[in-house]
Symmetry: C2
C-alpha cells in the first residue's frame, strides 16, 4: 500500500484482497444500476463508508437516493457520503449504443465523468455491464498501448484467489490482446493480491506448447519472450481452482464460459446436496452440525466477498458488479475499487508495458495474426 492509503484510520476488515485501502477522493457509485437499485446499492455504499471510512458519492436520481438514505436512518454528515444528481438511467437490457448516444446524463455516465474529471477515484456499477464497457472506453479511454480493456475476476482457489482475465469483455482476441491481459493481470495480482511473483498461465486445452489455437500459440511465443516474473506457459481449466496459477489469461468467450460453468456447477451441487440432505432426519441433523463449516466455506468462495471486478486497461478505474449484487457485494466492490485506485494499479501497468517492450516483441515475429 502506498503512503496515502496507509494514512487512513479505517478499521481493517477481513477481505479477500491483500489489504483494504481507502482513497482521499470518493468512489462514485451508480445508485441506479442493478436489479435491486437503488435500495440495495445505497445500503452497500453506506456500509462501505461506515466500515472502511471510504468517501462515497452516490450518483442517481436525487429524490430516490435521498429517500433510501432516510430509510436507512443515516444522519446527515455522520458518514462521508455525498449525493450527485443524474437525471437518466440506463436500463439493464438497454443496448450499449442507445446508452451512448441518447443518455448524456445517465447515472452510469456521470460516474465515469467524475472519474475522468479527477473528482472521483473510481466508478462502481451493478448496472448494464455492456454499457459500462462501452461508456468506460468512450469517457475514460484506454491506457496507452492497451488495445482492449478486460474484466479481471477474482475466483477462489485452494491457495487463495486466482485472477481470471478476460472474464467476458472481449469475445474475439488477437495474440497481442492476450499478451496485454497477461501483463495487466500480473500487475493486478502483485498490487492488489500482494503476490510478489504471480504465476501467470495461458488457458488452453492442455499444458503442452502445441495445445490451443493459432492465436494462443502465437501469444504463448510472445509471452515466453517477455520478462514476466513467473510464466507457466499453457494451463488448463482445472488450474483456475487448484492453486497452481495466480493469473489465468484467456479471451472473453473462454473466460465467460469458465465463469458461468462454475456458477452453474456450484448452484447445481448446492441444490442436489440439499435434496439428498432433506431426505432423512439423520442427514438434516448432520447438516445442522456442519453449518459453521459450511458458513466458513461460503465465505471463502462467495463472490460477494470480492464484490466486483475491474475493467482493467481503462485509463481510470471502473468496477463492474453482478446485476443481482447484494449490499455486501456493493460494499466490498467499493472497497476493492478504492484498493485498486490506492495501489495505483494503472500506473504500474503503464510502467510494465514499457518495461516489457511487448510491442517490439510482437513486431519481431512475422506473423499475420499479430497485425
Amino acid at each position: 500500500l502506498d503512503a496515502k492509503a496507509s494514512r487512513s484510520s479505517a478499521p481493517t476488515v477481513r477481505s479477500p484482497l491483500h489489504a483494504q485501502a481507502v482513497t482521499d477522493r470518493p468512489i462514485a457509485v451508480d445508485a441506479m444500476g442493478g436489479d435491486h437499485a437503488p435500495a440495495v446499492v445505497v445500503q452497500g455504499a453506506v456500509e462501505a463508508a461506515r466500515d472502511f471510512g471510504q468517501q462515497v458519492v452516490l450518483v442517481g436520481q436525487q429524490p430516490l437516493v435521498e429517500a433510501e438514505l432516510t430509510r436507512l436512518a443515516v444522519p446527515a454528515g455522520s458518514l462521508p457520503i455525498a449525493v450527485r444528481h443524474a437525471s437518466e438511467v440506463v436500463a439493464m437490457d438497454e443496448h450499449a449504443s442507445s446508452a451512448l448516444r441518447r443518455k448524456k446524463d445517465s447515472s452510469l455516465r456521470v460516474c465515469l465523468e467524475l472519474v475522468k474529471a479527477g473528482e472521483a477515484a473510481a466508478a462502481v456499477s451493478a448496472g448494464n455491464s455492456g454499457a459500462l464497457m462501452a461508456l468506460g472506453s468512450l469517457v475514460l479511454g484506454r491506457i496507452e498501448d492497451v488495445d482492449r480493456a478486460a474484466i479481471a475476476t477474482l475466483l477462489p482457489s485452494r491457495a487463495g484467489r486466482t485472477v481470471l482475465i478476460d472474464a467476458g469483455a472481449n469475445v474475439d482476441c488477437k495474440p497481442q490482446h492476450l499478451v496485454q491481459f497477461a501483463i495487466m493481470g500480473e500487475v493486478y495480482a502483485r498490487r492488489v493480491l500482494g503476490i510478489a511473483e504471480p504465476r501467470v498461465g495461458l488457458l488452453t486445452n492442455g499444458t503442452e506448447d502445441a495445445k490451443g489455437t493459432d492465436v494462443t500459440r502465437e501469444a504463448l511465443a510472445v509471452l515466453r519472450g517477455l520478462r514476466l516474473r513467473r510464466f507457466l506457459g499453457n494451463v488448463e481449466g482445472r488450474d483456475i481452482y487448484n492453486g497452481n496459477a495466480d493469473v489465468v489469461v484467456c479471451d472473453g468467450l473462454l473466460g465467460n464460459v469458465a465463469l458461468k460453468t462454475s456458477e452453474g456447477l456450484a448452484e447445481a451441487v448446492r441444490s442436489m446436496l440439499r435434496e439428498e440432505i432433506e431426505r432423512h432426519v439423520r442427514t438434516k441433523l448432520g447438516a445442522l452440525l456442519l453449518r459453521p463449516a459450511l458458513d466458513a466455506f461460503r465465505r471463502r468462495v462467495d463472490y460477494a466477498e470480492v464484490g466486483g471486478a475491474p475493467l482493467i486497461g481503462l485509463d481510470g478505474v471502473a468496477f463492474v458488479c453482478h446485476g443481482g449484487s447484494t449490499a455486501k457485494a456493493i460494499r466490498n466492490a467499493v472497497g476493492a475499487a478504492a484498493t485498486f485506485a490506492a495501489t495505483e494499479v494503472n500506473r504500474h501497468i503503464r510502467e510494465d508495458l514499457a518495461r516489457h517492450d511487448y510491442l517490439s516483441a510482437l513486431r519481431a515475429r512475422p506473423v499475420a495474426e499479430a497485425d
Copy 2:
C-alpha cells in the same frame, strides 16, 4: 432399445443411461491402456461381464492379462470373457503419429480393428486419447457427411444428464462441424438417454443471437434452419448444469475448458470443505451423519457412473475413458459402449444427417466461413 438389445436377460442395474443394453458381439477392451493397466482395466471388464452379462474381449499382452484374470480368480469359462493377444502398447504420453506409424500391433489398434472387422461391437480404452482419436479415424473412418469425430461427455445436471459435445477432440471448428455435433448430440440424447425431444443449445457467452463468434453465429443460423426437435439457440456455461439443456454444443477448446474447470472446481470445493470440517469435533460429527447424503450425491455426479465417452462420428463405436479410470469406471464404460452399439446410434445419425439435409442448408448460405 431395439429388439436385439431387449432380448437380453442381463440384470438391470442402476445406471445414468436410459437403460443398460448388451450386444451379441463382444466389447473389445484395451487391457493395456490407462494409468492402472492392466490390473484395474481387467477388473472392470470382469465386472461388466459379470454384472451386465456382456461379452468382453480383453486385448493386450496375453501373459499379463491372463495373470490378472488368475489373480481375480475368474474360473475359465465362467464369464463371457476372451483374451486377444497384441504385442505392443501405446504409451500414455506417446505422440499419436508415432502410435500410428510404428505400432501396427498395439492393443489400442487391435481393438479398433476388431470393430472394423465386425468381430467386436465397440472398442473401449483408458489409454492415450490422442492416439485413440487418430487411430479411430484411420481404422474406422467417419460416418458419411461427418467431417470430424467429437467426444460426447455426459455431465450431471439438476435434471439428470447433459451431453457436452465436443468435450475436447477438435480445438478449431468451422460452423459445419458445430452443426454436425448438434445433430449427433441430439441423436445420442434420444437413443442413449431416452429423451424424446432433447433440448439442444449452442454454447457461447450469452443467450442473445448476437453473442458468440463469427463461427458460432454462422452455426446458429444454419441450426435454426434445420428441423431439430427443440433447438434452444445460444446457451451459457451455467446451462450445462442447471437442467435447461440436454445437449450443449461447442468446439473442443470450449468443451475441454468447461470440463476441466468443472473438475478443478469440484476438487477445490471438496478439499476446502474438508479443511473446514476438520477444524471442529462438532462439524466432524455433522459430516459423519451427513455421509449417506454425500454418498448419494457422489453417485449422482461421479464420472465413474458414466465411465467413458464415445468418439461420436466414427464409423464404428469407440469409447475413451479417463486415464485414471477405476474398475467401476471401466465396467460402466463397457456398459455404455454396449448400449451405444445396441441402440444403433450411428445408424440414426446417418438417417438424421440425411433428413436434416444440413449440407444444402450450409451451401444455401453464402458465407466464407462455411467452406
